[in-house]
């Protein structure tokens, strides 16, 4: 590759000379985003601290723009690399724009005076992160979302070619997470800044990153594009999720299903089932469901939460065998819930199920919670 901007080769990182992770190999180009994911304490921060010279490299080399990291002085590095750290900043009477202006440090004169161009940079950086309106507020008195944006602006006006961010989205609510990552993505693409960051939100990591590194244990588990990483059980294994599941398609997390003989049969489809399934799971009622088309959103949740899912292949009428299987499973259950799926031509078999449930007086609305009366 010609466009390699940052490269780690056989990198070995750790604290106090004790290696934590070995043999890290990755390369990224300008404008690319590399995200480190992995469980707490896996060493994501250790890697980031090592490539920002906060920790000494224990082995291997890192290259920034064809220069070896070890041979760069902190002064040189400051003109290429900017950071956003997890530590919460305690400032004393510094306004937001003054915090941002510290990013100009590597470029100002002996006593740190800002030139006209510097002011311009500071203002542009603040506008980029949509924080220019809070420029005069004291940094100690703004919200977490604003703080993080100010820190990002500070990093931007350092004019880096590579930006390192350690969990930039922690402490933020979902709206601010999305805003921040959106700004970051645009920045990376427009200014051609390489980005390396760690994220806890794997669903967001999947969407924003060009490359993903799974950090766990002594070696890097996986490195690749989001498409290759977010497959099968890689994520499940990475985070050692034994209870519950992580849904790759939705990026959603489900708690473990309730084991046991199904008590309730849920007639669902078209996404009407998801809420019912989750409610069942919460109350600890084992259940079965059907008839669900395998391309239905309900299917994604049902397959991890339900005891048994009666399925049908997409785009066809419910076959007799399928319906019979559903009838049989329904008979075994004590209660039936109609989640409210619309019956049309293809799934009109469901009407028979509903009819039968009515006849055997098993049909209930979800709010009734008949199982509680036992």
């Amino acid at each position: 590759m010609e466009n390699i901007y940052f490269e780690m080769k056989k990198l070995c990182v750790g604290y106090h000379g004790i290696p934590l992770i070995r043999d890290i190999q990755v390369e990224i180009g300008r404008g690319e985003i590399l995200t480190l994911i992995g469980p707490n304490g896996s060493g994501k921060s250790t890697i980031l601290k090592s490539i920002t010279k906060q920790l000494k490299l224990l082995g291997g080399t890192a290259w920034i723009d064809r220069q070896m990291l070890n041979e760069m002085s902190v002064k040189d590095l400051a003109k290429k690399q900017a950071v956003v750290l997890t530590e919460r900043l305690k400032t004393d009477m510094m306004s937001c724009w003054e915090v941002v202006a510290t990013g100009r440090y590597p470029y100002t004169d002996q006593i740190g005076r800002l030139s006209d161009a510097d002011y311009q940079m500071v203002q542009e950086a603040m506008e980029t992160v949509l924080a220019y309106d809070i420029r005069d507020k004291d940094f100690g008195e703004i919200s977490d979302g604003q703080r993080q944006r100010i820190m990002l602006a500070r990093a931007i006006c350092q004019e880096p070619e590579i930006m390192i961010l350690d969990e930039p989205t922690s402490f933020l609510d979902i709206r601010h997470k999305l805003e921040l990552l959106d700004i970051l993505r645009n920045m990376a693409k427009e200014k051609g800044i390489a980005v390396i960051m760690s994220l806890h939100e794997i669903d967001l990591a999947q969407k924003i990153s060009d490359k993903i590194m799974c950090v766990k244990g002594e070696y890097i588990e996986q490195i690749g594009t989001p498409e290759t990483i977010f497959q099968d059980d890689i994520i499940q294994r990475l985070y050692d999720v034994k209870k519950g599941t992580y849904n790759i398609l939705f990026g959603s997390v489900e708690l473990p299903k309730t084991e046991g003989v199904s008590k309730v049969f849920v007639i669902a489809g078209e996404g009407t089932g998801v809420a019912v399934y989750r409610a069942m799971q919460k109350e600890g009622i084992p259940f079965s469901t059907g008839v669900i088309y395998t391309n239905d959103v309900d299917y994604q949740v049902a397959k991890v939460l339900a005891n048994q899912v009666i399925t049908e292949l997409p785009f066809q009428e419910i076959r007799k065998e399928t319906l019979a299987a559903a009838m049989e499973e329904m008979d075994r259950c004590d209660y039936v819930i109609d989640a409210g799926v619309t019956v049309r031509k293809g799934n009109q078999g469901l009407n028979q199920l509903i009819q039968k449930a009515k006849e055997s007086r098993k049909l209930f609305r979800r709010e009734e919670k008949p199982w509680l009366k036992d």
Partner: protein
């Protein structure tokens, strides 16, 4: 330049008005206190006579001596050492990233005091005189020693409160040893030593002033050039490094400068409490900024004003009895520190 870019600059410029007002007030207070100080004392000398003595160098011989040999050097010393002390506090606060740090509470002044007392007793008993340079060196060694202990503690315990307790303990130990030595010192020296060990600007000579001026101004210029990294250091060590600061070197420079300043003060005037904490706080409050480039000169000036004022009170309130300078600075400074603590909690 682009119109938008200048908007921020213009707004930033509005703050300069505030800076100018604060500096103007400080300079006025400075001048006023000089006049006031020259004009007060146990011997009454009228303004007209004072002016004649200072500018025409003529007048009554005794009065001439009082003004030139007693009052003026004392004022100069209060100004120089007060500024140095406040600046030393500011540096320590930057170093520990805590506004309650200062040369007195961290035991640095007391360490210097111990070494100076040791030197004084040794030299006075043998040679009946001691050079200012030796005293400064001794004070510097003592302050570095205390600082070393405080730093060693801070490596082990990252809590600021524990650090302060350690500093205060070191202060007590050093003071106890100093008192012990004074108790057994040659009688003729006791009066001198005792007054000095409690802190006082009295008995300063022009020689003292010269030496203090040289040491303090050299370091103050150095500190001014440390202003830029100090600004970045306010974001914490890691951010500072990411901005290209050589952290280790910077920390050593901070320690050396603050210790030297504190040592210089202690060598001449003994330990003086609370100036190092109260003045930087008041200055930042007044300026509404913590930008070192502005705060450093203002703190120096503020320290001068504060100490000249305290010295004036020390001389006049219970005249002819003179108070220790620390007595006055404590009464004025300690409430300010308490106010800082309360305000921080809320």
């Amino acid at each position: 330049m682009n119109r938008i870019g200048n908007q921020l600059k213009q707004e930033a410029g509005k703050k300069y008005l505030r800076y100018q007002v604060v500096f103007l007030c400080l300079v006025l207070a400075f001048l006023l206190l000089i006049i006031w100080n020259v004009n007060t004392g146990s011997t009454h000398i009228s303004v007209k006579e004072v002016l004649e003595i200072i500018f025409r160098r003529s007048g009554d011989e005794t009065q001439y001596a009082i003004i030139w040999k007693i009052r003026l050097p004392r004022i100069a010393m209060a100004a120089i050492l007060g500024g140095a002390l406040a600046l030393s506090g500011l540096l320590l606060q930057t170093f520990f990233r805590n506004p309650i740090a200062g040369p007195f509470v961290l035991g640095i002044s007391s360490g210097a005091k111990l070494m100076v007392a040791l030197m004084m007793i040794y030299f006075l008993e043998r040679f009946h005189s001691v050079s200012s340079w030796i005293l400064i060196l001794a004070a510097f060694a003592g302050s570095l020693l205390s600082m070393g202990i405080v730093l060693a503690v801070s490596q082990k315990i990252r809590q600021m409160s524990a650090l302060l307790v350690a500093g205060i303990m070191i202060g007590y130990i050093c003071s106890a040893i100093t008192e012990l030595m004074i108790t057994f010192a040659d009688e003729s020296n006791i009066v001198n030593l005792h007054g000095w060990s409690q802190g006082s600007f009295s008995g300063m000579t022009w020689d003292n002033v010269q030496i203090a001026l040289v040491v303090v101004s050299v370091i103050t210029v150095c500190v001014f050039f440390l202003g830029k990294p100090m600004g970045a250091f306010q974001l914490g060590e890691n951010y500072a490094q990411s901005l290209g600061i050589h952290i280790k070197r910077f920390r050593v420079l901070l320690i050396l400068c603050s210790s030297l300043l504190a040592a210089c003060v202690t060598a001449f005037a003994g330990p003086i409490s609370f100036v190092g904490i109260a003045v930087p706080f008041l200055i930042k409050k007044g300026l509404q900024t913590s930008k070192p480039l502005v705060v450093i000169p203002a703190t120096f000036l503020g320290g001068s004003v504060f100490c000249m004022f305290c010295d004036l009170l020390a001389r006049t309130v219970f005249a002819p009895t003179e108070l220790n300078i620390s007595t006055v600075t404590s009464i004025l400074g300690a409430p300010i520190v308490i106010y800082m603590l309360i305000r921080k909690k809320s």
